[in-house]
Amino acid sequence: MKTKRFQFLLLSITLVFAPITCRAEITVSLKKVFVQQFKDKATISTKFRIDQHHNSANPIGSGSKDGDIHIAGRDSVVKLPMVSEIINGKKENSALKFLLTTTSGQSVNLTGVWRLWFEHPGSADQIQGTTVPPADDTNPDHIFEFHPVVQFGTFNLLDSFAPIKNGSKEFRGYPAETAFPAYEKRPAVITVSNSAIMISSTKAAYNYAEFEMRLAGKPKDVGDGFIVFANVYSIGSGDDDDPLFEATRRMVFVKGSAPAEAVEKLKKGDRLQVLGIPRVNLNEVFAIASGLHGDEVFDETLPYEMIIVAILK
């Protein structure tokens, strides 16, 4: 009887304490001033030092065959491990030719949509401002990326904000009903120090999503783009269908791109079928951080918004 009691006691206590050791998340530490500066911006302009690059665009198909050109490197503004991704690489021959003439370590003026997302986080925490070693390949562990690139050297790439096609082949994002439930459930632990905001999360999936957005308000001009609240629907939803979830999400458009020119003219209730990629909503992260006291921890879901890279319809 004593053995049984002991087992009972041990099992109960083990069950309670086991979860303490069961958290495997990667943390990115961002400077508050950086978050404050870019939380409501679509893009960042920087000097990008090229370490490694693709010699051709990814093929077009499904999954990772997204037609992107990957360039791994380091920069002078963000100072995190990063890659830059030119979308619709097949359309950007001049930029690719220029890229092929560059040498490792060469700096290029670059403007790109900033994107923080735990797609390739690796296993080590990342701290903004610490020395970033040169990348060994075109896809090093990174949480930050410029995706899509808007200007590479002297090459304007705004025309890459279009459906990703090459002849009869077209890249398709994940259906909204697959991707968005995953985005909505991404875990996040946010903590704050006097000068930094730490965001911890786990590896994310479903990079591109196709969905219908219905505007919930007017697009706001944020200088280099537009941000608007919208509800998210599956492609093909009817008038009476419900959105995939009740809340609205921020949609980010880059000024000068075809999606931005389209959304600028829209009003509440109007619809667009789009291709988008998620990124951390730093506006919400900054607001959460400002509400935390001392060493409090925000342990909920990851605030995110969508970068609109193409209009599908």
Partner: protein, 333 residues
């Protein structure tokens, strides 16, 4: 009967509930202690004084003065002091402005701008503080190193930027001190609370195992607690046309109800003389409780919610906990 049945799960829920309620009490006590001892302000003051230590600054009226003392005499800082108490927060901008003003007004005069210095008329509208003219000291060394790093040493905006960066880097260290002190206080308060109320994990598990009525009551309270909002901050965007202006609200839902305290009281407390309780397993039980409380209320709240979902999976939300079973034949310990 298998070991992993709903009784075990109920005991686990009961234990988590006890840890959650004790962690909430511990947090409240810690906040009270922090407020009474003005922990945040004192830690910040220690950080600022360390930053400005080992540096004198010439003063026309009072002769050489310690930089830290001049800093705390500066009107920008004195207006933040509440009856002499240090504020809990100091912005980098205020810090930089006060330091710049001290160096500009009480320090040596800056050198006259020359062609080689790179100063242009638009850049000298704001007086350039002459850190190089300060006597040797920590402030001079640190600020000049930062300005050198930023390369454009003659631009007042760069000096401001360097001072803010210097302050921010130092405040990361201060945040670390504060966290460590808070963690230390959490453990001290958790230990004091545990012994004061005799919250012995081993004894609590035994009680939950042997007393189905108590177990049922704890499950009921755990259900109520798990349905309360999690203590956290929430962000709302109230204007649908302005996606850049969120409103932050803090949900403090931490207060314990009388029922929760009553249930907790049945599992903890000194029911026999102190000496009779001093056994090896009591110390183990206290140690486990202290460790658990120091994990913090949000951790136990999240775990409680997850286990409640497992416990009541498949049952309707209105279904109450199962009725008490017939008590075990085993004698209570």
């Amino acid at each position: 009967m298998g070991m992993f049945n709903s009784n075990v799960l109920d005991i686990v829920i009961g234990l988590i509930f006890v840890y959650l309620t004790l962690a909430i009490l511990c947090t409240a006590a810690n906040e009270w202690v922090a407020a009474v001892t003005k922990r945040r302000g004192k830690t910040l003051e220690r950080g600022v004084r360390q930053l400005l230590a080992d540096q004198v600054v010439p003063n026309a009226d009072r002769g050489d003065q310690q930089f830290a003392e001049e800093f705390y005499r500066h009107p920008l800082i004195t207006k933040l002091l509440d009856r002499g108490n240090h504020p809990a927060y100091l912005s980098p901008r205020t810090f930089a402005a006060a330091v710049t003003d001290i160096v500009t007004n009480t320090g040596p005069a800056p050198p006259a701008p020359s062609v080689t210095s790179g100063l242009t008329p638009d850049k000298i509208e704001t007086p350039l503080p002459n850190f190089a003219g300060l006597p040797e000291g920590q402030v001079k060394r640190s600020v000049l190193a930062l300005i050198q790093h930023l390369k454009e040493r003659n631009d007042p905006a760069v000096v401001q930027q360097a001072l803010e960066a210097w302050f921010n880097d130092s405040m990361d260290r201060v945040s670390g001190w504060y966290k460590r002190r808070t963690q230390l206080w959490t453990i001290i308060i958790a230990a004091a609370l545990t012994i004061l109320v005799n919250a012995d994990t081993v004894h609590i598990v035994r009680q939950l195992r042997n007393d189905p009525v108590l177990r049922s009551a704890v499950i009921e309270e755990a259900k109520v607690r798990s349905q309360k909002p999690r203590p956290t901050v929430t962000v709302e965007y109230k204007d649908e046309n302005d996606p850049t202006s969120p409103t932050v609200t803090r949900n403090e839902g931490d207060a314990l109800s009388q029922k929760e305290l009553d249930v907790l009281g049945q599992m903890i407390g000194w029911h026999s003389p102190f000496r009779d309780n001093l056994r090896g397993e009591t110390f183990l039980g206290w140690l486990l409780t202290v460790l658990a409380i120091s994990m913090g209320a949000p951790f136990w709240f999240d775990l409680l919610n997850k286990i409640m979902r497992v416990r009541f999976a498949g049952k309707s939300p209105d279904e109450t906990a199962k009725p008490p079973e017939k008590p075990d034949a085993e004698p209570r310990v």
